[in-house]
């Protein structure tokens, strides 16, 4: 066990910090500390421009292998990058679904052809991705997807029909990875495929969902004879579930570090407010701020344990509890922010319904314990896989 970073890694830290200082300025000044959870609808174009700026400096996909345009950074260096990125006020990454989810999945399961075609756009910050998993009848029961994919022999293309929901930033994305049912007779996690679908086509309609925040980063996506190339399937037909689940494993990996750094900025803002308005003298607020600080630190330590564990991340106990820990933590942070603000927490930034950053975070954080596996589903998974407790008997409704 060794927590220290090597001199080479400290050198790397200086390099990142210097680059951030020299580049996150001027036209990008306005997006510093912006675009995090609950604020993702803000500055989409500016954040995409920033993504291209990062790419110029070689700071996108830093953990990917060099042959795919990455920087082959060690885990330590990725940790350092995320730390320095946040310290500098780096904005929420517009490309995180591509870099953190689509890319690693294509690297792990894609053909050489797919890697050549899709990875460069992610690395360059020119192509953005969204995630087509959930459906109206496939929420916690994700394997119950009903979106159909049929292979059209005449056109030699896949044809997709159905609906996805809760698709973040679908309106900002060129591509969507879609889990769809190939085998009409199949049920559950059998007979699925993992498709890479172009968003800009007549068969796809994106409808924003107006959220509790009054803003929309989630969407409904409708597929009406949407087409997908014969070669744009990751893994074999029928292997979609395996690929889809492996992707969720990547989600719990290094990409969580970027999220933590955003949390860190939010907590820092709450502490600033508390010191300014005197809430920092309230004994209960002091306890809760300390608790939030502890929770965030422990989140980081747990992530370090996960990352030190190597490849089998999804199987370790610390990985099984990670989502429960951060989601509950962040939801509590939202309430803490409002309680620190006191009566000022009610006053919005503008009409008709323009919320300030902490208000947006407070409301948006209610989704944290729901998306990506609700707390209740996470508890089932932790108890069944982590503790070996038996599944609930199935009730079959005829």
């Amino acid at each position: 066990m060794k927590l220290s970073f090597s001199p080479e890694d400290e050198q790397f830290r200086t390099e990142v910090a210097t680059w951030m200082r020299e580049n996150l300025c001027g036209e990008f000044e306005q997006i510093r500390f912006r675009g995090g959870p609950g604020d993702e609808h803000m500055f989409p174009e500016e954040r995409k421009a920033w993504e291209r700026k990062l790419a110029e400096g070689g700071w996108t996909a830093i953990g990917w292998p060099k042959e795919y345009g990455g920087r082959a950074c060690s885990i330590e260096q990725q940790v350092i990058f995320h730390e320095e990125y946040a310290r500098a006020g780096g904005p929420g990454r517009a490309g995180h679904i591509g870099e953190g989810l689509a890319g690693p999945t294509i690297v792990a399961f894609g053909t050489e052809e797919q890697k050549k075609r899709f990875l460069p756009g992610i690395v360059a910050g020119t192509e953005y991705w969204c995630q087509g998993y959930s459906e109206p009848s496939a929420g916690s029961d994700l394997a119950n997807v009903k979106t159909r994919a049929e292979f059209d022999e005449a056109t030699q293309q896949w044809r997709l029909n159905g609906q996805k929901v809760w698709t973040s930033n679908a309106h900002e994305s060129q591509w969507c990875f879609v889990v769809a049912r190939i085998d009409r007779e199949s049920k559950g996690h059998h007979g699925l495929g993992f498709f890479l679908v172009k968003m800009d086509q007549p068969g796809i309609t994106v409808r924003p969902i107006e959220q509790i925040t009054g803003t929309s980063e989630f969407n409904e996506v409708f597929f009406d004879d949407a087409v997908c190339g014969a070669d744009d399937l990751v893994g074999q037909p029928g292997e979609g579930w395996k690929v889809a689940m492996a992707l969720l494993g990547f989600e719990r990996g290094v990409s969580t570090l970027g999220q933590q750094t955003l949390f860190k900025n939010e907590l820092a803002e709450i502490i600033r407010v508390a010191k300014d308005n005197g809430a920092a003298q309230d004994p209960d607020i002091r306890q809760r701020i300390a608790e939030a600080h502890m929770g965030l630190k422990i989140m980081r330590y747990s992530a370090m344990r996960m990352l030190s564990g190597g490849a089998g991340v999804g199987l370790q106990k610390e990985a099984l509890i990670y989502k429960l820990h951060w989601a509950s933590w962040h939801r509590n942070l939202g309430k803490l922010a409002m309680d620190v603000l006191g009566p000022e927490s009610e006053i919005a930034a503008g009409a008709p319904y323009q919320l300030n950053r902490l208000q947006g975070m407070y409301l948006f954080a209610r989704s944290d314990t729901i998306y990506g596996g609700t707390n209740q589903i996470q508890r089932n998974i932790a108890a069944e896989r982590g503790l070996g407790m038996p599944k609930e008997p199935k009730i079959v409704i005829q």
């Binding site: 066990m1 060794k2 927590l3 220290s4 970073f5 890694d9 885990i75 330590e76 940790v79 502490i271 508390a274 010191k275 920092a280 004994p283 002091r286 306890q287 701020i289 300390a290 608790e291 600080h293 502890m294 630190k297 422990i298 330590y301 747990s302 370090m304 344990r305 990352l307 030190s308 564990g309 106990k317 610390e318 099984l320 509890i321 429960l324 820990h325 209740q376 996470q378 508890r379 089932n380 932790a382 108890a383 069944e384 982590g386 503790l387 070996g388 407790m389 038996p390 599944k391 609930e392 008997p393």
Partner: protein, 392 residues
């Protein structure tokens, strides 16, 4: 950066688990806790004679094994898991750490080899009646004399104070207050004027005593560290001990979860194991979150303590990490205290009626959770220490 045990550390941990499962099973715990001494001589003899754990982090030049705090924390985790009844915590986390932090070379040569060999146990006495945490807890009085010092006062909540051979005593100069005027002394328990009374405790697995000092005359070389300015050293000792206790709590939190889950797998109601009900599973999952998070906090703090001790010894420790000691100790102790209490309390609920009986072990964990929570500052106190760092 490598935040997991290396092979040797893993081996130490596994060996400790196997040994403690044998010598500290339910029957052994109950035999030891029923005594005033608080431990079985045969078990302690094996620990000091065969396992040599008491010597683990004592440097080799003083007869120890020269291993680090990470290895030590691996032991404390397992001791907490198996509720070992022994003077290990008081001797190693309190007395040895105090000597490592505050003693000069000559004093280390006097005391550490005796502890390393197993012939001497020790403890730390610093809280006077009415005291709890912080420098104000120190109310025993020391006066300088022609040949040394005289100590007077009453000290409470002294772990294994009635059996320890060496008492590290904190006292303050008359009329001093706060962090000023505090000194540390190495006091052999048989020194004239020292009276020791065992205090029966709610958690019987760990013994406490009251120590009364009446005109205890000490030679000048009994003084550890700087006269009247030892608070920073005492504070460091307490922080190192907090990390040891946090590791015990983490092990206890894990075991409270494990025995409760095991019970629910074997307990049938409505024709199914109650472990299959979500009402039970979700409680267990929440306990798992606590146990795993406690593990992260305790291991991190162990790494920090290792560097802090290395820096204090003039070695090549990482000074940035070493400087995190106050924060890491507070986080570990606060989180692990709450986690252990939550898991032990939830464990009783998962056991149902039998959880309320003397016969089942979960009650022992519930009591240990409370006693360790109170020891060295509870979660509320530690969170306030963190709040001071963050907000003031």
């Amino acid at each position: 950066m490598e935040f997991r045990f290396n092979e040797e550390q893993q081996m130490i941990r596994d060996t400790a688990a196997a040994f403690l499962a044998e010598v500290s099973d339910s029957a052994a715990i109950r035999r030891a806790m029923a005594t005033e001494q608080g431990y079985e001589d045969a078990v302690w003899a094996r620990i000091v004679g065969d396992m040599y754990w008491q010597a683990l982090h004592i440097p080799e030049q003083y007869g120890g094994l020269g291993l680090g705090y990470i290895e030590l924390v691996a032991l404390f985790e397992q001791m907490g898991r198996y509720l070992l009844c022994s003077p290990f915590l008081s001797t190693v986390a309190f007395a040895t750490n105090a000597l490592l932090v505050a003693a000069n070379d000559e004093q280390k040569n006097t005391w550490l080899p005796q502890i390393a060999s197993g012939e001497l146990t020790g403890t730390l006495a610093y809280i006077s009646p009415g005291g709890n945490n912080g420098p104000q807890a120190v109310q025993a009085v020391c006066e300088k004399t022609a040949n040394g010092y005289t100590l007077n006062g009453t000290l409470r909540y002294v772990l294994d104070g009635h059996t320890a051979g060496l008492l590290i005593v904190a006292a303050r100069t008359k009329n001093s207050s706060g962090e000023q005027g505090i000194s540390l002394f190495a006091v052999p328990a048989d020194t004239a004027g020292v009276t020791r009374n065992w205090l029966p405790t709610m958690d019987q697995t760990r013994k406490q005593a009251e120590i009364v000092l009446q005109n205890v005359a000490l030679p000048s070389d009994a003084l550890l560290g700087s006269e009247g300015a030892a608070w920073p050293q005492l504070q460091k000792v307490l922080q190192l001990a907090q990390i040891a206790v946090a590791a015990e709590q983490m092990g206890g939190a894990q075991q409270a979860l494990d025995i409760s889950v095991e019970y629910t797998k074997g307990r049938y109601q409505f024709n199914r194991p109650i472990a299959s009900f979500q009402g039970i599973k979700h409680k267990a999952a929440d306990m798992m979150v606590k146990a795993e998070s406690a593990r992260s906090a305790a291991y991190y703090a162990a790494c920090v303590a290792q560097e802090a001790l290395a820096v204090a010894a003039g070695g090549d420790g990482d000074t940035d990490l070493a400087a995190e000691l106050p924060e890491a100790a507070a986080i570990a102790k606060a989180y692990c205290s709450d986690a252990f209490f939550f898991n032990a309390g939830s464990g009783i609920q998962m056991h149902g009626g039998v959880g309320f009986t003397w016969e089942y072990d979960i009650q022992l964990y519930f009591k240990r959770a409370k006693s360790t929570e109170t020891l060295l500052g509870n979660a509320v106190w530690h969170r306030e220490q963190l709040a001071k760092m963050l907000l003031d």
